[in-house]
Structures are given as structure tokens and as C-alpha cells.
Point group: C2
Chain length 195, copies 2
Amino acid sequence: MKGRGERPAGSALDVALVHCPVCNKAGETIGSAVTNLDLHDIARACRTFGVGTFYVLTPFADQQELVREILAHWLHGHGAIANPDRKEALSLIRLCSDLPALYQAVREVHGRRPTILATSAGHQGEYWSYDRATASLAAREPLLLLFGTAWGLAPEVMAEADGVLPPIQGGNGSYNHLSVRSAVSIILDRLLGRG
Amino acid sequence: MKGRGERPAGSALDVALVHCPVCNKAGETIGSAVTNLDLHDIARACRTFGVGTFYVLTPFADQQELVREILAHWLHGHGAIANPDRKEALSLIRLCSDLPALYQAVREVHGRRPTILATSAGHQGEYWSYDRATASLAAREPLLLLFGTAWGLAPEVMAEADGVLPPIQGGNGSYNHLSVRSAVSIILDRLLGRG
């Protein structure tokens, strides 16, 4: 068995993809539909960077069923034989119906409440720096990152979090319309990437 | 007009997504199909980081037609009105039929031959470091990044390039099966990201 110091830093990090409550283009609070490629791309990134669990949040029964069907194909069906690497990635996914269930699940895995950080393309205000988050992971303190689909996490989710990571900025002024798949990948690399 | 020193570093960088020649799972050289979401995600990342042009390479007439239809919707059709941010991103795309046409197009835009760097999840050997590529862009020296779809760029494409960027490594040993969408996003952030 590995001691605490030997566990990779990523094992202290969990990622949650929130489909409800999120904002639509008009800023209204909605629930969004699950996108198949979000599950694949984000699971592959999580596996590459050694993330503990990739939580997929949706309260809708038909969307939960869709996630279960996708997982069944890749974990137990033809996909598992055709592409074992994909199976390895998608096995990180856990379904959750809502934020209270998510927070409870993460607490149970880590034995204590994690630090909860929201992400946003447009948030104004104070931020947790990437350096602070990296240091927290290096100390193996559990950290939960929330990512919103559609036009981002609803304001009440942002307000409840312990902090917000800075928006990803490129060299081109204020344009910031990355896909959530890209945003997760970049943030995991900033927190856990090497080489 | 801006002088050379004021142009953002990203303007010296072009990205090419290669669909042929690439490898399949068995290592054979093939041509792959265009994926709609590759165009969107990579164009959005390119626009966020200020990349000059996003070249999409395919020699197949039906695949070129698909790319043209997607672009027509988002640049001139309903998509352009419904989502101007997406129009701004997808307007960076240029279709190219093959590598010689790509190299010629990039030479014409920049007035000289760019440095051509390949990317690979599994390449063994010498690398161009990210620091070296970043310094090259800071000096506004034209740089062209080649990304392969399917199981990656064919060996002859790798051999012709001026160098290869190091594979993206996470904290989790040797697993590296990122989507090309994630890989492009991470590499652009490493070369041009801020904050």
C-alpha cells in the first residue's frame, strides 16, 4: 500500500460536470442535455491527469439513462473489447442527480469535506489562483472542481463554492468561448500537467 | 497599423488538423473522416489564444464538401446570426487538400517558410521544448503545428517536420489518450495562455 505522500496529486482532485442548474444564453437558469463527447473527452483528460472521479450531474431520468447506456457500451459491451483505453477512462465516471448528492459522495470518498472551486469564463471578482490550487493538491487536500455546461454554472452554484478559478485567457483580448471539453483539459494541465 | 513588436504572439502561430495521412489503430496509414466537433472546439481554442489560421486538411471531395457546408451554416447561414462568437471562431478555418498545399499557403501568408512542428502522444526521440516554441512565437517567428486525427500523424509526416513537441503527460504514468481537441487546447495554453 502506498503512503499518503506517495499518492499522486491528482487522486485528491475530482471533477464534476454540471448540467443543472446552469445558465442559458439569456442568463436564465436551466438544465442542459448530456453531450456524449463531453463524457469521452473529459474522462480521457481525467484519466491522463490522474483525477480521482469524474462526476456527471443531471437530475433528469432520461439523461441519466443515456449516460448509463453509454457507460454500459464502453464498460461492459463491445466498446470495452474494442477500446480498453476508453474503458479505462470512462470507468472514472459516476452519475449524480444533484449538488447535495455530489457533495455527499465526495465527502464519503475522501473522509472529509473537499474545497469546492467553481470555474467560469466570465466571472468578475476574487479568484483562487492556479498556484494555490496546485499547492493544495500537492498537499493531498481534497479539491472538487465544478464545470458548467451550456452558458456556465448558475449564480447560486458560484456563490456556494469556496472560490472560483480565474478564467482562461489567451493572447487575444477578451474572446473566451472555449468548449467545456477544452476548458477542463487546460485546467487539468495547469494543475497536474508535466513535460 | 501595429508594428511587428505589437502583433500578438499568436498571430505567428498556425494550427493544422491532418486527416490524411494518419495512422489507424493497427499503425497503417489511412485517411480519416472529418469530425464536426473538432472544427468547433479547435476553432474556438484557436480564436481564444489568437492563432492566425486553423487549417483543416483532407484530400477527399465529400469531406471537403462537408467542411464547406458546416462553414456556410456558421459563417453565412442561420448559425452566423444565432451565434456570432462561433462565427468569429470558425472564420479562422481554411480548407487544404494536402501537406504541400498547406506548406505553400502558410509560406504565402507569412512571407517565409514557417518552422513546422509535429505533435504526438507516443513519439520517442528528441523534442522541441515548449519553452523553445514559446520563445520562437515571442520573436514572431512563424510556427506551424501539425495535429493528427485517428491514431496520429503518419511516420512520414513526423519525419518531414522540423521537430516534435513533447507528449502531454499527466500525473498518472503512461496513460495518454487525450482527444485531439484536448491536446490542441492544452498545447495552445502552454504556448500562449495567461492567467
